[in-house]
C-alpha cells in the first residue's frame, strides 16, 4: 500500500472544527451512535476487565466520542488530532501545562499515554492520586475512554496494551491561583 495513499487518507479526516482556549482550531468528527446490539458487543469485548476482581470499572458507553473528545471536548464529539500534530502545543492551547513532578498530580489532571514508538495514543482524567509509601510511588485512579468502546475507571497502568503506557501528566491549575 502506498504511503502516498495514507497521507491522502489522513488529510481527509476532518469534519468539524472547535476552538480551543487560545483560539486554536481543533478538527473533530460527529459520529453516529452505535445500535444497542453494537454497544453490547463492544462492552462484551472488555467484560473480562470488569467486575470486582477485574482491573477496570465500567462507567458508560457511547460511540460518539473518544478519549480526546472526553478530555478536550466534554464528550461532545470525536476529537482526532492529526498525526503530525504536536500534542504538547495542543494541550498548551487547551490551557494545560506539563507536571514536572509526578508528586504534584492532583484530581482533575490529565494523563497522556504513549506507544512504544513515542506516539501519543490515549489520554485520561486523573480521578484520584494517592501516595504509596510501601513502594515509594504514586497511585493514580484514572477515568478514560477506550477508543470507541466504553469509559472505564482504572488504575493508570491498567489499560489494554494497544493504548500504550502512562508517560506524562498535565494540569490546568496554575501556581498563582488562590488556594
Amino acid at each position: 500500500m502506498s504511503p502516498d495513499f495514507d497521507r491522502f487518507l489522513l488529510s481527509c479526516s476532518h469534519e468539524r472544527i472547535v476552538t480551543l482556549k487560545d483560539g486554536r482550531l481543533l478538527p473533530t468528527l460527529l459520529r453516529p451512535e452505535g445500535h444497542h446490539a453494537q454497544l453490547k458487543a463492544s462492552r462484551d469485548i472488555h467484560r473480562s476487565c470488569e467486575g470486582p476482581l477485574g482491573p477496570a470499572r465500567f462507567r458508560r458507553l457511547s460511540f460518539t466520542y473518544n478519549c480526546f473528545g472526553m478530555v478536550l471536548a466534554n464528550r461532545q464529539c470525536w476529537v482526532e488530532p492529526a498525526p503530525d500534530c504536536d500534542i504538547d502545543s495542543l494541550l498548551t492551547s487547551a490551557g494545560y501545562r506539563r507536571h514536572v513532578r509526578v508528586g504534584d498530580v492532583v484530581s482533575g489532571d490529565v494523563v497522556l499515554y504513549r506507544a512504544q514508538d513515542g506516539a501519543y495514543v490515549h489520554i485520561g482524567l486523573v480521578l484520584s492520586a494517592t501516595r504509596d509509601p510501601a513502594h515509594a510511588t504514586m497511585k493514580f485512579e484514572v477515568l478514560s475512554k477506550w477508543g470507541q468502546d466504553g469509559e472505564y475507571i482504572h488504575q493508570a497502568n491498567d489499560v489494554p496494551l494497544l493504548l500504550g503506557t502512562p508517560r506524562e501528566y498535565w494540569t490546568d491549575t496554575h501556581a498563582n491561583e488562590p488556594a
Binding site: 500500500m1 495513499f5 495514507d6 488529510s11 481527509c12 479526516s13 459520529r31 453516529p32 495514543v121
Partner: protein
C-alpha cells in the same frame, strides 16, 4: 486453495477479534495502522496480490457486509469490517472505487467508514487523472479547512457532503469502462447547486411583476 485461504482470512477479519483490536484506536492513523498490521489482513492482501482474480470474491463479501441491515440513525454494524474491505480492495482500479462508491451511497448511515471511502474515491480520482492539479482541486473543493470552518452545526455531516461530491467527481472523471455497469449519472450535486444559484428571473418575469 488460495480461495479457501482468502475465505478464511476474510472470515477472521469479520470476527470479533478484529473488532476488539481496531475499536481501541482513537486516531485515524492509529486505526489504519491497526487494520494494516492485523495478520489476517496482511495475509488476505498477499493472497490478492498473487491472485488478482480473487478480488471479485472479496468484493462480493464486502458488498454482503455493506448490505447488513442497519437501523437508522445508528452506525453501520460492520463499519470496521467495511474499512478493512475498503483498504483491501483499494489497489484494484475497478473494484476499489466501485465499492467505495457503494459505501458512499450509504453514507448517511455511516460515519467512520464513509470517511475512508471518501478518501479512497478521492485518491483514485486523483490517481487516474495523474495530475497534481487534480489533487489540489479536489482538496480545495471538498476539504479545505476554511471551507469546513464555515459550516454550522445544523448542516448535514460533512463526510456525507464530501462523499457525495467525491462520488460525483468519480463518475465525472472515471473512464467509462470503470462504471460500465452503473446507470448514466444525472447532473451532479454541484451542477444543480450552481444552476440554482445562477437562476435569475428573466426580464419578462420582472416586467410582469412590475406591472
Amino acid at each position: 486453495m488460495p480461495t479457501s485461504q482468502l475465505e478464511q482470512h476474510l472470515a477472521t477479519i469479520e470476527s470479533t477479534d478484529f473488532r476488539a483490536r481496531v475499536g481501541l484506536a482513537s486516531r485515524l492513523d492509529h486505526y489504519v495502522r491497526l487494520i494494516r498490521t492485523y495478520p489476517p489482513f496482511q495475509s488476505a492482501n498477499e493472497v490478492l496480490g498473487h491472485h488478482p482474480d480473487l478480488y471479485t470474491r472479496a468484493f462480493d463479501k464486502a458488498c454482503a457486509a455493506l448490505l447488513t441491515d442497519t437501523p437508522e440513525p445508528f452506525a453501520h454494524p460492520n463499519e470496521d469490517v467495511l474499512c478493512a474491505y475498503l483498504l483491501l480492495l483499494q489497489p484494484n482500479p475497478v473494484l476499489g472505487p466501485q465499492f467505495a462508491k457503494r459505501v458512499l451511497e450509504h453514507a448517511t448511515r455511516l460515519g467512520w467508514a464513509a470517511r475512508i471511502a471518501k478518501a479512497v474515491v478521492l485518491y483514485q480520482v486523483a490517481k487516474e487523472a495523474e495530475s497534481r492539479k487534480c489533487v489540489e482541486d479536489v482538496r480545495r473543493h471538498t476539504l479545505a479547512p476554511t471551507h469546513l470552518s464555515e459550516r454550522t452545526i445544523y448542516e448535514p455531516p460533512a463526510a456525507v457532503i464530501a462523499g457525495a461530491q467525491a462520488a460525483d467527481i468519480l463518475v465525472a472523471m472515471t473512464p467509462s469502462t470503470h462504471v460500465r455497469d452503473e446507470p448514466q449519472p444525472g447532473p451532479s450535486r454541484r451542477d444543480m447547486i450552481r444552476r440554482l444559484q445562477d437562476a435569475r428571473p428573466s426580464a419578462d418575469v420582472l416586467a410582469a411583476f412590475a406591472s
